[in-house]
């Protein structure tokens, strides 16, 4: 028996090509331009997209919402503990109070395991997806529906040659969505705010680099996760000019997995942990209990913990690539570090 692979392959590819060409035609009269996405693909997209689908909550959907872009569908998450079990968009739910049920934007499934037919039903003219779509064989499906651009948001992804801070990614998303003008206006206002805050920091603390700050999380697996790059949190720490402890500053990767034995090396003025206001399991009290369980008595030899300078920030409000998150983190740092009295690292002694 001879398997007719070539004729069958030819027939299927021809049919696929016809379908793809017929379905990705831009709307009548829609002006197009070519952009290069984060993975280096050149994609022809509408100059002014009217029907955008987003497949990543805090990195794409949230900035599109802040810009007032023409979003018609978005991926989301379902958790019994959050939003009464209704789908929600991580980050946008928390910082922008976005609710699918109170909007005309359709829920299209999970960001990574989306319902392709739900997306097709929206007849989008642009899809903005995370680069993970290219690695899971799903990109051809999205491309068959509409022009699809991919965003890289992993800080250590070697494919990305340009900048990869939250605001740099935000700028690219704004550009693809045809909302660069709105982005520039928001950016200018934020730059003005940041300049004013820096003035206050200098007036209050002198050189902000004298203040040592680090992120630390304990997810209950026996080790601590210390991130040098953690979206708006570390970007605003950098923006205000605070310093990191050597163990973090000298780390080669984006994070340091730290055992309890290394914890005494994490001597800082302030330690910042993240909590989730939408999940009881991640409230600050539960997180403090995890720290105590991993290393009882740790407050005695970690400066920030000993002097009440272990502080908590809402992770989901902090993480979005929006100016709302940037303002939230700036205000948090100002209120909890700059505008309060604290015991500086060099002024105190710790238990041996």
């Amino acid at each position: 028996m001879r398997f007719p692979s070539r004729p069958l392959r030819g027939l299927l590819l021809a049919l696929g090509s016809i379908v793809a060409v017929m379905s990705v035609q831009p709307a009548f009269g829609q002006a197009m331009r070519t952009v290069t996405d984060d993975t280096g693909r050149e994609v022809a997209i509408p100059v002014d997209p009217q029907r955008i689908v987003s497949l990543r909550g805090e990195q794409i959907t949230a900035p599109l919402l802040e810009l007032g872009a023409n979003l018609v569908g978005a991926g989301g998450v379902v958790s019994p503990a959050i939003n009464g079990g209704q789908p929600y968009v991580r980050g946008a739910f928390d910082i922008l109070d976005f609710r699918f049920e109170a909007s005309t934007i359709a829920f299209v499934g999970g960001d990574n395991d989306f319902d392709i037919e739900a997306i097709a039903a929206l007849r989008p003219d642009l899809i903005i997806a995370p680069a993970v779509a290219a690695a899971t064989d799903r990109l051809p499906q999205l491309e068959a529906i509409a022009p699809t651009v991919l965003l890289i948001f992993a800080t250590n992804d070697p494919r990305l040659t340009g900048g990869n801070t939250s605001l740099e990614r935000y700028r690219r998303v704004a550009d693809w969505a045809g909302r660069l003008e709105q982005f520039n206006a928001l950016e200018a206002a934020f730059a003005d705010r940041l300049a004013r805050y820096r003035t206050i920091v200098e007036a209050t603390l002198g050189d902000p680099a004298r203040v040592v700050v680090s992120h630390i999380d304990n997810h209950g697996v026996g080790t601590y996760q210390v991130l040098r790059h953690y979206d708006m949190l570390t970007e605003m720490i950098d923006a205000l000019g605070f310093a990191y402890p050597a163990i973090v500053a000298e780390a080669t990767g984006p994070s340091v997995a730290m055992s309890a034995e290394l914890l005494p090396q994490l001597q800082t003025d302030f330690l910042i942990s993240t909590f989730r206001s939408a999940s009881e399991n991640d409230y600050p009290d539960a997180i403090r209990a995890r720290f105590d369980e991993t290393l009882p008595g740790w407050q005695e030899f970690v400066h920030a913990a000993k002097y009440g300078q272990h502080i908590f920030i809402d992770r989901e409000q902090m993480r979005t690539a929006t100016f709302a998150s940037a303002r939230y983190v700036l205000d948090f740092l100002m209120a909890n570090i700059v505008l309060r009295p604290f015991t500086a690292l060099g002024e105190a002694t710790l238990a041996p």
Binding site: S5, G16, V19, A121
Partner: protein, 354 residues
């Protein structure tokens, strides 16, 4: 060359022959039950094909299927690019995994043997995952072959440790190796690039959502070769069940047969893993269903397992795709919900013989 039917037993068994080249004994009752299973598959396809989040009336779906020239671009896209490839891939992968399981159970003479349980799936997964995580640039067309290398190495290692591919010892050592490889997979997921780890996790959940003609064409040659090998070894496998002395007297080379069956099982599993990720328990559940519904001789087992596997994966994927839409539950998770209780039930039934 003409097809000749030779009745061996007028009431129960006949033989299908093509010249001197092919001689397949069969039982009419088995054929009828197999035909019923195929009708079940067609019925499921008939029900699930018109269903989906894109609101497309059934008459337009069938028009797109049987008269594509009269269909709109939307109808062609939804039916020919999304739904039909996904259904065909489900049938193909279900049949491949089920036959892989049936072959492994025949080799080990152990109903608990499944490529997923003895580490073959994990072996294939580790190699493919390694290829993805370190970004080797190897095109996906080579993933089945790479997966087969990983699966074959694990199978060879387990064979080396057990000496004979028979009995509970084989399965227990396989489970140990499987656990070891799972730890290796965890290391990749812990230290890999976050984007690649996310894609790996989606792939490992065993989802048919990325189904495309390209993926089907990648898996099809392996399926044809594997299923052909499974069919061509049915008589020898049946004879081997008579015991070493009797089967040797009948001209069966037991060791060579076991190697062929294991390599075929590994190849089918690796190609499935490369296509849709880790979709567990099909190889465990489907052969048991086939024995119950169709029959226990090897030809009935292979054909019945293929059909039962196709039904299982098609149902699992359709439930995951439709029940909570647009939320998509990977077929691997739905299969685990079915497979884990089934596995525990099997263990309970055999608790005195393990």
């Amino acid at each position: 060359m003409t097809a000749v039917e030779v009745p061996v037993s007028p009431r129960r068994q006949r033989t299908f022959r093509i010249g001197r080249w092919l001689s397949l004994p069969y039982r009419p009752r088995t054929i009828i039950r197999g035909a019923i299973l195929i009708l079940v598959i067609m019925a499921i396809v008939g029900v699930v094909l018109p269903m989906g989040s894109f609101n497309l009336p059934a008459d337009r779906v069938w028009r797109a299927v049987f008269n594509p020239a009269a269909a709109s671009s939307d109808e062609l896209l939804i039916v020919w690019e999304f739904r039909i490839p996904r259904i065909l891939l489900g049938i193909l992968i279900g049949a491949m995994l089920a036959v892989a399981g049936a072959l492994m159970q025949s080799v080990t003479r152990n109903g608990l043997a499944d490529p997923g349980l003895i580490g073959v799936t994990e072996g294939a997964t580790v190699v493919i995952l390694f290829t993805v995580i370190i970004d080797t640039g190897i095109p996906p067309q080579w993933y089945p072959a790479l997966g087969m290398v990983g699966g074959a190495l694990v199978a060879a290692f387990v064979l080396f440790l057990t000496r004979r591919a028979v009995g509970v010892k084989f399965v227990l050592i396989g489970i140990g190796v499987s656990a070891f490889l799972s730890a290796g997979i965890s290391i990749f997921l812990t230290y890999g690039n976050i984007s690649q780890v996310q894609s790996a996790m989606v792939w490992m959940a065993g989802s048919l959502a990325p189904a495309s003609w390209d993926i089907i064409l990648r898996a099809l040659p392996w399926a044809i070769a594997g299923l052909a090998a499974a069919v061509l070894t049915t008589r020898a496998t049946d004879a081997s069940l008579l015991g070493h002395t009797a089967s040797t007297a009948l001209g069966i080379r037991g060791f060579r047969l076991r190697i062929i069956l294991i390599v075929t099982s590994v190849a089918l599993t690796a190609a499935s893993v490369a296509a849709v990720g880790t979709l567990g328990f099909v190889g465990l559940v489907a052969p048991h269903l086939a024995r119950f519904l169709v029959g226990a001789n090897q030809s009935a087992l292979i054909a019945g397992s293929a059909a039962c596997g196709a039904v299982l994966v098609l149902l699992a994927d359709s439930l995951g795709r439709l029940v909570f839409a647009p939320i998509q539950i990977p077929a691997g998770i739905v299969m685990a919900l079915i497979g884990v209780p089934f596995f525990l039930w099997l263990l309970w039934r055999r608790r005195h013989t393990l």
